[in-house]
Symmetry: C2
Subunit: 391 residues, 2 copies
């Protein structure tokens, strides 16, 4: 097969709020080849990712992603690897390219799976898709009372684990953080798995982060996620030593395999969280999962958008029996729910797993998606270089 | 002062060739505040960088760069730091933001310098701007014969140092690489400083890179630059040990302080090369220079575009007396030459230095720039969100 077309569809809620909720917009990617269609999704900032697809060339190592994808042969897994390497070489100096490639790579796997009649995780070399324990991923409430309610709601909805993140956490006093953590624990009950996401709030301030450790221990949190920005490896390392039995989690900011590796190697994290929509797609996420196994770090998906993104993010660690925790957005905006015709529902045990159907097993709902479609037109030097195609 | 406007001007040669020459286009940035104008430049991929400036918000940590800059107070150095931190926080998930911020930060320094009547290097805390030895930065010829000619031309033009990079180097046989290196050495004569840039050609293949070490020693190269991609720190480290007296150089791909630090900490490079137009501007480049001093690594600018970018890139290490080598593009396209009214010419000793004039000391030539101006128009959801303003 030859890759005939790659199209990007920018979907957005009518109003995008100033909150840490990544489900307010989406960049849906459609690839066509040999009579098949594959679908993928790039995480965040749709317009720059479209620009990275189609911008004019700057020089030999700063070409648009398009130049390395359109017209390429796609007959097997090796072709997807080859195309990814080509993008990284030809778009070396185009920073946004990794995010654009991510959605394209996901769509290529979906398409190849459909062509070969195999689920993606089988193409990745796994023999089985193991059940994962989804954690309800929610934002901290503005008050402990709200957080308590959210915890109770998660428990009532049958979640055995919940992650609270962003919102006011870490932004005022240590006492306020403590109140939030106790509210979350109370909401989940004694048995619920409590995960905490600081959303990089302390940048690289180890001392401030360490002040929250006692409350995290009191409330028996399983992990503290992103106390610092992705690059602050030394800060992570220092805190990981002070944290004792509490594990650190991070890695969602990784936009290439190197960043994920550096984090596993130098930061002392116990959990590496990979977003397929950012790191370069399923291909690079699987490399990270392989590295995590080798290093004894637990792999977790990072997913805060649709179930298309969720299925993609489950594939790289579908076959890792011991890495059971998975992120599962429970407060997505209607856009993220409606844009797919089917969903990865929890089974009777409350578990989810990467589907057995060919490709990613998720079908976009194009009629629904159209409601949220934001057409984009880009003219450069008087030439209409980009116009959103019909969905 | 309040930041009143920030405008981006995409300049391009009529034809952009598929060669490793970064001077074929430019993204010029103009900031206005308090009756002053500052100018900066973002390195490469103008369109995605414009998109990162003005794209609609995706969520609270994925806002356009604009949201953290327009209307901000600019009275002193601390304000530039604050604005940079704001961009990094508000655009955490917008990958291209660092490149966009780079040009804005450079323009802010230029503007502040003009307002305060001080050269930027003084505002950075340096007491003196030391002479630097420019190396002629040229591409390897397609044949050793061409490379020989380029070396002779650099020597004839009075350069005491020259860097050969990209082109066919590393792409065929070790013997061919050896021929190229000997041609470069012959061209420079016995006394010239020979620098070699592999342009990431070996990605992370230490064994292939190591095969070139004997020829690099034979030809007394001072450094081998970018044998691998920026993230391949372990590969750098392994090669640095094998390289003995030959030093490795790298870092141009760093788009934040963390990447520069990780490279200095873990890769064994002797020279850290920072591009102000990528790393987040002069502010972050100065942090990298401070770190380099602390670690005993030599700081070098990475500059392959205009003399506006060159002046910006000299500021962060202007006051470091021992770090004398500086990159100086000698084959820039007419666009990169004509877009500034003045240039950082070499003095009688063949040295250059960051100018003593307020700001960056480089004035854009707007009439010339207009010849290369590529207007951009972006419409999102039926709304004209961006149109290149008058230059």
């Amino acid at each position: 097969m030859k890759i005939e077309s790659v199209d990007f569809f920018y979907l957005s809620m009518p109003e995008v709020l100033d909150i840490g909720d990544g489900s307010q917009d989406a960049l849906l990617v459609r690839v066509r080849a040999g009579g098949f269609e594959g679908w993928g999704e790039c995480e965040a900032a749709p317009l720059p990712s479209i620009a990275a697809w189609m911008c004019p060339r700057s020089h030999s190592a700063c070409k648009p992603v398009r130049d390395s994808v359109l017209g390429q042969t796609l007959d097997g897994v090796a072709d997807i690897t080859r195309i990814g390497n080509l993008v990284r070489e030809n778009s070396l100096d185009l920073l946004q390219a990794d995010h654009t490639l991510s959605g394209v790579d996901i769509a290529l796997w979906d398409l190849l799976g459909k062509k070969l009649g195999q689920p993606v995780w089988k193409l990745l070399g796994y023999k089985q898709s193991f059940a994962k324990t989804p954690y309800a991923s929610v934002l901290f409430g503005d008050t402990p009372q709200e957080t308590l309610k959210k915890g109770r709601a998660a428990t009532a909805a049958g979640y055995r684990a919940a992650k609270f993140g962003w919102g006011p956490f870490g932004r005022t006093t240590v006492a306020a953080d403590r109140d939030q953590l106790h509210a979350a624990r109370e909401g989940l009950g004694a048995d619920g798995l409590l995960l905490v996401d600081a959303g990089t709030v302390w940048v690289d301030d180890v001392a401030r982060a360490a002040q929250v450790l006692p409350a995290l221990h009191e409330t028996r949190a399983l992990w503290l996620e992103e106390p610092f920005v992705s690059g602050a490896l030394d800060a992570y390392k220092a805190l990981s030593i002070q944290a004792g039995s509490l594990k650190l989690a991070g890695g969602e900011g990784a936009h290439n395999i190197w960043m994920a590796r550096h984090m596993m190697q130098h930061s002392g994290v116990g959990y590496i969280q990979i977003d397929c929509g950012r790191i370069g797609g399923i291909s690079v996420a699987k490399q990270a999962a392989d590295d995590a196994v080798a290093r004894g770090v637990t792999f977790v998906n990072h997913t805060f958008t649709s179930h298309l993104a969720l299925s993609a993010s489950l594939q790289p660690f579908a076959g890792l029996e011991k890495d059971v925790i998975c992120e599962y957005p429970v407060e997505p905006k209607p856009l993220a729910v409606e844009m797919t015709a089917n969903h990865l529902k929890r089974d009777a045990n409350g578990s989810v797993r990467a589907p057995d159907t060919p490709g990613l097993g998720i079908t976009p709902d194009l009629l629904a998606a159209k409601k949220y479609l934001v057409p984009v037109e880009i003219t450069v030097g008087g030439k209409a270089l980009y116009s959103t195609p019909p969905l």
